[in-house]
Structure formats: structure tokens, C-alpha cells
């Protein structure tokens, strides 16, 4: 069901990971992604994996939820693994027709799988532990220097938070519409590709109409509360960079540096 999608979901909590400044978390996630691509051998990957596992442990998020979030990408991971397995040159171990498995292939395939999994788990830890509002506020503040060159940073952040806010609402709405059309005998499961695509029309049209209606209502509600962009706008929660953040930042930077150094030596 649509409900099982956990990517981008937020699990409220009070752990250190939850309390860390969203700006810092954003920067650390970007640093982690860069580090992930500079890691090259089992040792550097293991260190980074250990780092991410500790983050999960500290955050108190159930590992089951993290695993569930990986479900939608299983296919991509498997596909990448197979491509790397069969198409990496090296010492041949086994071959069948055009398929060749090499020792290098096995190594690269395993490391690629680990890399993708860590990438997804690491980035999803950001959304699992940061509320959408904190996330967009953090992003807005990080990007605020670009306001100088007239980049509509605030508007972009607002658009993002509205989009995130409406994902669960629209999922619920879609489920309702699907049930209603099924009650009128709509069939989404059989037929060829064209027939199935056409069967989507009774879902998509009401969904778009409802999205536009909601957008319109939201715009009016915002106007009623005198929303007029970020000029002169203050925040209920001010972001503060505290001791917890300094500690988190230091530990993370040391781990990332170690991974990069290990990676340089090919470990």
C-alpha cells in the first residue's frame, strides 16, 4: 500500500540526533555523501557504516523502520549489483555466454551495494529525525547568502515545506478515491499497459482537482493571515548552535576525515 512508504517521513523524538541543529544536519549529510564517494575499500566503508549505525542507535529509530524504508529501492540496488557483477573487467572466475564474473566484479558489486544502501539510510536519517519545518527553515538559513543575488530562497523553502506537508494528505486522498472508484467497479489490476494507464484517469482527475482546490484554500488562508514573504518575518523557534551541535559536528568531521584518509590509501 501507499502507506508503507517511509522515505521522507518524520518520526518524532527527543534524542541527540533529533535535537541537533537542522543546519548542521544538512551540512553533515552533504559531507557524508561526499565522503561516501571518496571511500574506496572495505575498511573505510566499514567505518562509515559504523558511524551511520551509531546514528540510528542514538536516534532511537526502530531498525525495522529503517529497513522498511529501503524496500522501494531494492530493485535499483539489485540491478546495480548485477551490472557491476557481470561487466567489471578483471580475472575471470566464471562465465556463461556473454556473462562473466570476475574477482574485481564481485568486489565492486558488494561495495556498490553498500555505498547505495549507506547513501539512502544516511539521507533518510535526516528526514526521519528532522521535522519538515525544521528542515526547510534550516535550508532557508543555509541558503540565505544567495538572497543577495536575488535568489528567492524563502519562496523556495516555503514551496518545499508546503509540498512536504501535503504528501500524507494527498496519499490519504488517493486511497479514498481509489476505494470509491473500485466501489463503482473500476478495475486497476487487469488489462494491458494502455488499458491500465486509462484506468488511472478516474483517479488522477479527481486527485488533481482536489489538489488545486486545496492549493486555492491554502493561498486564501495564508493571505488572511497577512503572509507576504519573508520580509519582516520572525520565527517562533530560533535556531541555536549549542554544545550538543559542537560535539556532534566534531565527532562527525573526525570520522569523515578518517574515512577519506583511509580511502586515499585504497583501504
Amino acid at each position: 500500500m501507499l502507506r508503507d512508504i517511509t522515505i521522507g517521513q518524520y518520526f518524532p523524538g527527543t534524542s541527540v540526533v533529533h535535537r541537533t541543529d537542522p543546519r548542521l544536519k544538512l551540512v553533515l549529510v552533504i559531507a557524508m555523501i561526499v565522503t561516501l564517494f571518496l571511500a574506496s575499500g572495505p575498511v573505510s566503508y566499514a567505518l562509515l557504516a559504523l558511524y551511520i549505525l551509531s546514528v540510528i542507535k542514538i536516534s532511537g529509530i526502530q531498525p525495522k523502520m529503517v529497513v522498511r524504508g529501503l524496500k522501494p529501492v531494492v530493485f535499483i540496488v539489485a540491478f546495480t549489483a548485477l551490472l557491476n557483477l557481470f561487466y567489471t573487467p578483471g580475472t575471470e572466475l566464471w562465465s556463461f555466454g556473454i556473462l562473466h564474473i570476475t574477482d574485481q566484479g564481485i568486489r565492486v558489486a558488494i561495495l556498490m551495494v553498500v555505498r547505495i544502501l549507506l547513501l539512502i539510510i544516511g539521507t533518510s536519517m535526516l528526514t526521519y529525525t528532522t521535522s519538515p519545518i525544521e528542515l526547510t527553515d534550516g535550508l532557508e538559513m543555509l541558503l540565505s547568502p544567495f538572497k543577495k543575488v536575488h535568489l528567492p530562497v524563502h519562496e523556495l523553502a516555503m514551496m518545499m515545506s508546503i509540498a512536504l506537508r501535503f504528501i500524507p494528505t494527498l496519499i490519504e486522498e488517493t486511497e479514498k478515491i481509489i476505494a470509491a472508484q473500485k466501489a463503482r467497479g473500476a478495475d486497476f489490476e487487469s488489462g494491458n499497459l494502455v488499458q491500465r494507464a486509462r484506468a488511472m484517469v478516474p483517479i488522477l482527475v479527481p486527485l488533481f482537482i482536489s489538489a488545486f482546490r486545496r492549493a486555492d484554500e491554502l493561498a486564501i488562508a495564508m493571505e488572511c493571515r497577512l503572509y507576504r514573504g519573508d520580509v519582516g518575518r520572525t520565527r517562533m523557534k530560533q535556531m541555536k548552535f549549542g554544545a550538543v551541535d559542537a560535539l556532534t559536528g566534531t565527532v562527525s568531521v573526525i570520522v569523515f576525515a578518517a574515512v577519506i584518509v583511509l580511502g586515499r590509501f585504497g583501504w
Binding site: 479514498k176 470509491a180 472508484q181 466501489a183 467497479g185 484517469v201 482536489s210
Partner: protein, 286 residues
């Protein structure tokens, strides 16, 4: 004795095995008689919406059975025949949000077309359904999106009626309508019942509306059937109903208050007409 719809120990658990586990229906046993109007009442989250989605196989029971005319709607392979969907027509809450076609006639024809009926039969049913809900035939080729809210709802209800279901289930058919629109829709449902003889289930949290037209009432509370019987039988348990967070009709409240002040009247009266009669009789008897 065979009922048109029946549930046996129907149980529905959402999110089994997760921290969000919730039992929406707990061993529910219900019998619906052919041709009756059954009012289903319950607080938000009492399980009434889950219950009605079981009647046409949109949800699969965690355990227990749903029987339509004495036969389980789920076969041995765990599949539900689409015929069930056509036999048990379900009108969801705010059904106007599911309209999608360019014209009213085409939208109403969606259900009958899915049944695989011939073009002439579909056309006949569309005309008939529009008549049932009181839509002007001249509107047939208009866009449903140009209509008012109440009119849109009628188009949506017509879309289900056009399948000629043996059982018609309506979830909060009057939600968000003004009093005039509400009375009109309820009158049309009653009219449809009289003309077609279909069994009708109406879900509502408004006691007033439902008590007036239902033959029997079913009160749901916390995944269980709390009360089931004629409105008189049900409203005799006014205290229990109030404890479940539901309202009793205003006139029943008045009668109960009179009783408290020593004027003895039948406490299960739920219509103004009956109350007038009872009060007159009391005064004459004194």
C-alpha cells in the same frame, strides 16, 4: 432465515505487528434484513466506516466472514468477485470528489459500463438514475464540475444507483449540506427506497436525521456493536448512548427532562409528532 447481508465474527486489525496496531472491528455480528433501511451510527473511529467497506469487499477481514444473500463474498482462494461491488453499491463520504468525466451522463455511466452492459442499457440506467436523484435530464451533457456542491453529490449518488445495487450504502450522505439540501437528499433516498425496494444502509452521526427514516438502528462503539434494534428500542438506552459520546434526538432529551420532573411519558419517544401525541394524552388523562 437468510439475510441479505450478514457478518459473522467480523474482525479487522490495522497495522498488525507494528506499534500502530489498532482493532477497528472486534467480532462484529450483524444481520441486515432485505428491504429495510438500517441506520448505522457511531462516533468517529468507532469502526463504522471500516464496517461498510467490508460489505462490498473493499477490505478483507482479518478474521470472520461477510455473507451476501447467505454466501461468503470471499471465495476459497481469498478473492472477492467484482459482482459483489455491483450488488452492494457504496457511496463514500463527500462522493462529489470522485467525479472525473467530461459530462454528467458519462460519469454516471462509469459504473454500468464497468458491469459490461450494452450501450442502450447503460443509457437507460443513466436516465433512470438521474430521475431517481432529481437531476434535470437537460443537464446530461453538462460538465459535472459546473454544478453546485449539492448537485454534484446527486450526480455521484446517481453513479452508484445506476448499477442498480441490491444494497445501497451511503456514508454521511448529508455531510456539509445546508438544511434544505439535507432534507432533499434524505427525501430522495426514501423515495428511492420506496420505488426500488432496495435495502439501504445510511451511516451518520446525526441521530435526528437517521431516527426519522430508519427501520432499525445499529450503534457502533469502539469496534463493537453497542445496540441494535428499532429506534424506540435503541433510544430507550439513552444513557448508554450518551456515554458513548453520541447525541440522542432533541425531543427525546425534552421527554427525559419532563420525566425527571415527574411527568411520566414514554422515554423512548424520538419524533416530535409522537411527543405531541403523548403530551396531549397525558394532559387529557390528568
Amino acid at each position: 432465515m437468510s439475510y441479505i447481508l450478514e457478518t459473522r465474527d467480523l474482525t479487522q486489525v490495522y497495522g498488525a505487528g507494528t506499534p500502530f496496531e489498532r482493532t477497528a472491528l472486534d467480532h462484529v455480528n450483524i444481520q441486515v434484513e432485505k428491504g429495510e433501511i438500517l441506520g448505522v451510527i457511531g462516533h468517529t473511529g468507532s469502526g463504522k466506516s471500516t464496517l461498510i467497506q467490508h460489505f462490498n469487499g473493499l477490505l478483507k477481514p482479518t478474521s470472520g466472514e461477510v455473507l451476501l444473500s447467505g454466501h461468503s463474498i470471499w471465495d476459497a482462494k481469498g478473492k472477492c468477485d467484482r459482482k459483489t461491488r455491483f450488488a452492494v453499491g457504496l457511496v463514500f463520504q463527500y462522493p462529489e470528489y470522485q467525479l472525473f468525466e467530461e459530462t454528467i451522463a458519462k460519469d454516471i455511466a462509469f459504473g454500468p459500463q464497468n458491469m459490461g452492459l450494452s450501450a442502450t442499457e447503460v443509457e437507460k440506467r443513466v436516465r433512470e438514475a438521474m430521475d431517481f436523484v432529481g437531476l434535470d435530464p437537460a443537464l446530461a451533457n453538462h460538465s459535472p464540475f459546473a454544478l453546485s456542491g449539492g448537485q454534484k453529490r446527486r450526480v455521484a449518488i446517481a453513479g452508484v444507483i445506476a448499477m442498480r445495487p441490491q444494497v445501497l450504502i451511503l456514508d454521511e450522505p448529508t455531510a456539509g449540506l445546508d438544511p434544505a439540501g439535507r432534507d432533499e437528499i434524505l427525501a430522495q433516498i426514501q423515495d428511492y427506497h420506496a420505488r426500488s425496494g432496495a435495502t439501504i444502509l445510511i451511516v451518520s452521526h446525526s441521530m435526528e436525521d437517521i431516527a426519522r427514516m430508519a427501520d432499525r438502528l445499529l450503534v457502533m462503539n469502539r469496534a463493537h456493536v453497542m445496540l441494535c434494534g428499532t429506534p424506540r428500542e435503541v433510544f430507550a438506552h439513552a444513557d448508554e448512548i450518551a456515554r458513548a459520546g453520541l447525541d440522542i434526538p432533541e425531543i427525546t432529551k425534552v421527554i427525559r427532562e419532563l420525566n425527571r420532573r415527574g411527568i411520566e411519558l414514554d422515554p423512548s419517544i424520538y419524533t416530535v409528532e409522537d411527543a405531541v401525541r403523548a403530551i396531549r394524552a397525558y394532559k387529557e388523562g390528568k
